[in-house]
Symmetry: C2
Subunit: 257 residues, 2 copies
């Protein structure tokens, strides 16, 4: 047996810390956004509404595993105590001298920490006015989104969504849940495509399509390029052969008629 | 006068096409997500609720310019007629042989088209079951998000948000609304930092901190590295000088006591 490549261990996902969120619905939508992109460690500091919250569970839309595992803290210092890289998200300039990065740069760092099992987290503030300066001071870096400055107000779940998306995009190198390759149909072989070209060009020749004849090579090239751009599958080549055959059933119109 | 570099014209943003959306609230949240990232061309095909919709306006949270400019169409073919690159967003594999790209790759293409004023658009389906196969067939490419396959269900506004975010991140090369450089305080000069090091190391020397003396160079280097990592501003150097001076006020403890 040949040796197997070890499967790379997935990076430890970041925690999401919500500071004094006001509405259960928003906590639920945060849980849903986390689940979409493979995050599960939700920490809530002093929620205004009661916890557990039925409104949160309803808004989480079946992301129950995130809601069930959520932990509530009285102090933000306790909520972030174990983290080794902490990002504070803010929508406006806070005059706090700390590096400011976008969600993409933060994700690169979170994934690189997580790859060696170092604990990271993103901290989000209240719906109305975000994090206070003492909370931001706890963080290593500030994350802000590349918004249109004339319309910068994001819902808290939207901000979590973008950070979680960037984390997963980076952690999985953009792996998508499905690709063209999963879809039915093998790519056609060059031979099958060549036979289709011969069929098409023969049928067109019979109809006197290639006139003047010295332009024929250019026209043939253009036709071939059109179909090559389509990355045809075997099945699609069969369909096109059927189309050509169908046109051929009617005899070519004699010249001059 | 020297010649000015012409300001690069911003790329034409993509249109967002919603096919038969069910809830006004969702249309409003889509408008808000678009406004966050500088999109404004919203097209709605056969909304189930009446249009204009007060629920949509309320959920748009002041993105009124997007709501006011939204256009309603009876047929999706009319809604996309002018577009030169159309993306269909789908959450699951549709067995439609079309290239499948992530929001990042789609954004790269949309920005490159938009840079030469070619019209692009992203099409989104119904809340319950997305786009139908005839709608997907209209598109040049399929966009899907790099979600966790075990929890792939995104709200329509969340899907728009991620696509809009990626478009703006690409179009502006990740430009953030503010940066560390906007914040108060010039970076300290090397001279100011060197004087601080001299101050600190002198004070520690007086206290016999550097023992054994042959280890002093290593310890000095470590200390300097700590402060250099902090990218100090002038103001921060002044604060640290004050801290050192405060410690110095108490005379060094004589050796052997």
């Amino acid at each position: 047996m040949s040796e197997m490549e070890p499967t790379p261990k997935p990076a430890l996902p970041p925690a999401i810390i919500l500071c004094e969120p006001q509405l259960g619905e928003n906590i639920g939508m945060v849980a849903r956004a986390m689940a979409n992109f493979g995050l599960s460690d939700l920490r809530i500091v002093n929620p205004r509404d009661d916890w557990p919250s039925e409104k949160a569970r309803a808004a989480a839309s079946r992301a129950d595993h995130v809601i069930d595992a959520a932990r509530v803290f009285d102090r933000v210092e306790d909520a972030v105590a174990d983290l080794q890289m902490l990002f504070a998200t803010t929508a406006r300039n806070r005059d706090i001298p700390k590096p400011v990065v976008g969600p993409d740069e933060a994700a690169a760092e979170a994934v690189s920490y997580g790859a060696t099992d170092l604990a990271t987290g993103y901290m989000f503030g209240r719906e109305r006015w975000g994090l206070n300066n003492d909370e931001v001071a706890l963080a290593n870096k500030i994350v802000t989104l590349p918004v249109d400055p004339t319309y910068a107000s994001l819902n808290i779940a939207q901000a979590v969504l973008v950070c979680a998306y960037e984390w997963r995009r980076t952690a999985t190198a953009g792996a998508l849940p499905f690709t063209l390759e999963d879809q039915e149909g093998e790519p056609a072989s060059q031979e099958a495509i060549q036979r289709m070209f011969d069929h098409l060009e023969g049928a067109l020749d019979a109809r006197g399509f290639f006139r003047p004849v010295e332009k024929k090579p250019v026209t043939v090239r253009r036709l071939r390029n059109i179909f090559q751009k389509a990355d045809l599958t075997d099945n699609e080549v069969r369909i096109l052969r059927g189309v050509i055959a169908s046109f051929e059933k009617y005899p070519p119109k004699p010249r001059g008629e």
